[in-house]
């Protein structure tokens, strides 16, 4: 089993799925509620037959997860070991954009740990690759860090938009449309975060 396969087997549990490695087929079978819904060969998941609505949704999450995991596993396997006095041993360089750098280390049991730092910034450690990427994007100057909202902030924003739509009678149709669109966007952003935390159930 390679690192990708080990990592994907660990991470599909976040989606309330189980995974079994098939040595004869060099693949990972993913089951949900006892049914095999995906077969992962290389880094690509394939449907194993007709799936119901919930299974199809889980399959989409598996596909996104595979791309995500392949991204950092490949970078890790090609990454050079780094020596940085602020980091313990075992980290390998993954990405660099401008002054921002991302590295990771791998442990068979606990999976990956990511670290992000800049020229004049102390390293920040993450278990979540998504959070590490966000920090990396902000540090590299691609996105203003004030434009990135964390989970709690997104929920508070959603609450405010929701309350405004509920109790503000003075909104005209254009404003209502705009706010509904913003609410929909916030809803998706929060759902994606929650699905990652709660196991893919949106």
């Amino acid at each position: 089993m390679n690192i990708f396969e080990k990592e994907i087997m660990r991470r599909v549990k976040e989606l309330d799925c189980n995974a079994v490695y098939r040595e004869n087929g060099n693949s990972v079978s993913v089951t949900f509620n006892g049914n095999i819904i995906a077969e992962i060969r290389g880094e690509i998941p394939e449907k194993t037959g007709e799936l119901d609505v919930q299974e199809s949704e889980i399959f989409l999450h598996i596909r996104r997860l595979c791309a995500n995991v392949a991204n950092y596993c490949t970078a890790y396997e090609n990454g050079e070991p780094i020596k940085n006095p602020n980091l313990s041993d075992g980290f390998r360089r993954l990405f660099k954009i401008g002054k921002a750098k991302m590295a990771a280390r791998y442990d068979r049991k606990s999976g990956f740990e990511f670290v992000v730092w800049g020229d004049n910034e102390n390293p920040d450690f993450f278990v979540s690759y998504d959070k590490a990427r966000e920090k990396f994007a902000a540090l590299s100057g691609l996105v203003d860090r004030e434009k990135i909202f964390d989970d709690e902030e997104l929920q508070a924003l959603y609450y405010c938009v929701f309350m405004t739509l509920e109790i503000n009678d003075a909104l005209n149709e254009d404003m209502l449309d705009l706010l509904r669109e913003v609410k929909r966007k916030l809803d998706i952003a929060i759902s994606k975060n929650l699905s990652a935390q709660r196991g893919g159930k949106i």
Binding site: L154, V161, V182
Partner: protein, 484 residues
């Protein structure tokens, strides 16, 4: 300048720093040392200026001493006196070996030297310039404030008498270690057209090209690498090189052919090049100022932008100086607008100059790759007439080409597009200015109309409101409330 008598027992010689590698090699030969030694050490018998005498009878790295010589050479008279005053003061000790003598060159802000204590305004100006590094023109001319700061400094009673004047230790500024004793910090001494940051296992040294080959070998050795091919290279160019030469220089990051490029650069006459009037940064600032309708002129390497009321704001490469006394409201707005313009142009010009050409099958135009992540590419192309064009692409499945280009001239928009396209940031978590403006109004509405919020909720919403305001341009965030 440092003059030293060095010994490799029983041979001695006199040497003056800074010196070239050739001169140093010759001196090493005179004391029967390997003239191409990569880490030459010798004992110092005598040294001038006398303030460096703590090095007497010590074995020191001659390259580090040479580096210190360059740093002292680069100081103006005031800085040089300040440096010597600190070393001459027995009450101040940072463990003055060669290592911290070098570190002192980067830590002069920690020590204010006052030669003449009669003029409070001048004392204040000297002190504030030393501590802050820069003053706006209005601050520079604010006699009352400067005299007050001068008085505060004198009344602190912390002045220590030296032969150069009174030295004050600014305890709030820590003594920072930039030089670890082995790897020499970057310092542009020759003003070379190309610099190379050579990195290995987390350590980096900068060399200026063209230079003597031995300087490159020594830098590689000091970061602990056996060969330059084992190192990571980052190139910066400071002169408009001809396209073919620039391509070769930038390709060095991959080919690692530092010595070949060094030889090639030695054959180029840069004196003519350096007389070119404007860099890409300057051309781009000029283009952006024209585009935004500013009235400006370019003289002596800086832009002078004249506002409607006659005030003038000056722009230099990494600074914006307001240069006409008081800071009126209209001037302040223009100042911040120009400050942001300057920072943004500097940001993308620096990124562009440091980037390698984008290699992709079938791609026309000289694009450079600013960033690549998760199958997405952020690239830029420069043209004297139209300025910069930014584009984000997807790499094709085989990684050899690019597709689905999204072209724009707005750098911030291109970066955001790249951030979402590459998957670094979820597109549903990024909001446009218009969306943020709406959300901000909802937050305000909720704070004012939802009575069941507790103290913590209100504080949280207050902070969110401030964060959102940061993202909205001034005129929009301060626009009148809509009837929500």
């Amino acid at each position: 300048m440092i003059k030293a008598t060095i010994q490799n027992s029983p041979y001695c010689t006199e040497i003056v720093f800074p010196c070239t590698e050739t001169e140093l090699s010759k001196k090493l030969g005179e004391i029967k040392m390997n003239s191409e030694h990569l880490v030459p050490m010798a004992m110092v018998l005598e040294i001038e200026p006398a303030e460096l005498s703590m090095l007497t009878d010590c074995d020191v790295s001659l390259d580090a001493l040479n580096y210190l010589g360059k740093r002292l050479d680069g100081m103006d008279e005031g800085e040089y006196k300040q440096y010597l005053a600190v070393l001459s003061c027995t009450e101040i000790s940072e463990g003055w070996g060669l290592k911290n003598m070098i570190n002192l060159t980067d830590n002069l802000a920690r020590y204010t030297l006052i030669g003449d204590t009669d003029d409070l305004e001048r004392i204040g100006r000297t002190h504030m310039l030393n501590v802050r590094g820069v003053l706006s023109e209005s601050e520079y001319n604010n006699s009352e404030w400067l005299a007050e700061e001068g008085m505060k400094l004198l009344e602190s009673g912390k002045g220590i008498d030296t032969e150069y004047g009174k030295i004050f230790v600014n305890d709030e500024i820590p003594f920072e270690e930039h030089f670890n004793g082995t790897t020499l910090p970057p310092y542009l001494y020759n003003g070379a057209p190309v610099t190379v940051d050579i990195s290995y296992m987390g350590l980096t040294e900068m060399v200026e090209l063209p230079c003597e080959d031995l300087a490159i070998k020594k830098a590689v050795c000091r970061i602990g690498a056996d060969r330059v091919s084992d190192c990571k290279l980052e190139i910066s160019t400071f002169t408009d090189l001809p396209d073919d030469l620039r391509d070769k220089v930038m390709a060095m990051e991959k080919t690692k052919s530092v010595f070949e490029i060094n030889q090639l650069l030695k054959t180029v006459d840069f004196s003519a090049k350096q007389e070119q009037p404007m860099s890409i940064f300057q051309k781009e600032v000029a283009r952006r100022l024209s585009e935004d309708g500013y009235n400006f002129k370019f003289e002596n390497g800086e832009f002078a932008v004249t506002l409607n009321d006659g005030d003038v704001i000056k722009i230099r490469k990494d600074d914006v100086l307001y240069s006409s006394g008081d800071f009126f409201e209209t001037g302040r707005e223009a100042f911040y607008a120009l400050y942001h313009l300057n920072r943004e142009v500097l940001d993308y010009c620096t990124a562009y100059e440091k980037s390698a050409p984008l290699i992709a099958d079938g791609l026309s135009g000289n694009y450079r790759c600013l960033a690549e992540f998760g199958g997405a590419v952020l690239a830029a192309k420069y043209n004297d007439e139209f300025g910069f064009e930014f584009v984000t692409w997807d790499r094709t499945f085989d990684g050899k080409s690019v597709c689905n280009g999204n072209y724009c001239s707005d750098y911030a928009a291109a970066k955001e597009n790249f951030a979402t396209r590459s998957g670094l940031v979820d597109k549903d978590k990024l909001f446009s200015t218009e969306e943020l403006e709406r959300i901000g109004k909802c937050v305000k509405f909720t704070m004012q109309n939802c009575g069941d919020l507790n103290f913590d909720d209100c504080e949280c919403l207050k902070k969110l409101n401030e964060k959102i305001s940061e993202n909205i341009p001034e005129q929009q965030s301060e626009a009148p409330e809509m009837s929500m």
